[in-house]
Amino acid sequence: MHIIIVGCGRVGAQLAQALSSDGHNVVIIDKKTESFKRLGSDFNGITITGVGFDSEILKRAGIERANALAAVTNGDNSNIMVSEIAKKIYNVPQVITRIYDPLRADIYKKFGLNTISTTSIVAEIFKSAILKKSSKFEFAIGDDVGLVEYRAKEDKGAA
């Protein structure tokens, strides 16, 4: 797959490395060239320095033939703008948007973006960890994919 990642922070870099070592064609975009240091020396994808929502930059990243785009900069609004360009102008089949603000994530989910609010996810995980809940926690990724975790009870009688 040809995959574009916008934002080379910790999440973007890790995602790029993982996808690249799985054999995908990865192009990663970031405003600052020094951010690409996070990728390490064995990253064999392409790096482009520039603003992710600039159409010219996206074209250079091959958006016209991209199978997927992940918007993971630290700016919610930048991520939304990049994702809308990818989805509505270039019809990229798979567009995923990281949004910190859960409220905004909900709004843009209604507008048809595949948003992931990491804030809600982390809060849920912490809550589960603190309460040592044996119950599940879950969150949706878009309309058709979800993640569910079940913690096994530390109950010695159980099978």
């Binding site: 929502f53 600039d54 159409s55 919610d76 609004n77 703008m81 409220l103 905004r104």
Partner: protein, 220 residues
Amino acid sequence: MYVLIVGGGKVGNSLAGALSHGKFEVALLEKNETFARRSAEELDNVLVIAGDGCDPARLEDAGINRAQVVTAVTGDDEDNLIICQLARDTFGVPRVIARVNNPRNEITFQKLGIDTVSSTTIITKLIEEETTVSDMFSLLALKRGKLSIVEASLDTKSPVIEKPIKDLKLPADSILASIVRGNQIIFPKGDTRLQPGDSVIALVTIEQEKALRETLLGKE
């Protein structure tokens, strides 16, 4: 009419100040509290609120539910896009206008259906118009650039000179709105004849602008 301006920089402040003297009720939403306080001191008759315009709750505080016009004039294009989309799609504001700081983003906004104003583009157009003689240029783009009001200056070589307007083969999607002849403004009728030196103001779709140009001014 209730107008909500988001972004209290130089553009937002000037706009709020200019509109507050007329028939408008103006509110200004600015993220930075220091800037908001300064705006509140400078501007009379403007409701200034400190808050992030990308936050729907703050937009509600600023009265977006009764706004007829929302304009996003911050220095960040991505914020301006989000503000306008929230205004239009979440709050159903009838008219939203975004400032575009980087002209390269203008096409993106238009493709996403948001009306834009870009000072760079406006200045470029003004300079281009200053340097064109006996030509046609766009005075105003309407309906997100699908329709435009154009002005054509005729000279002696124009193929339409001295012909009655009813005999001109104008493109189907165009209409001659008026003729400026010296100090006179003429509303053309079928038997009006065009003269060299006339400025013809017409309404035309973008697709037929070139055809109209050829009819009025001839082929280049």
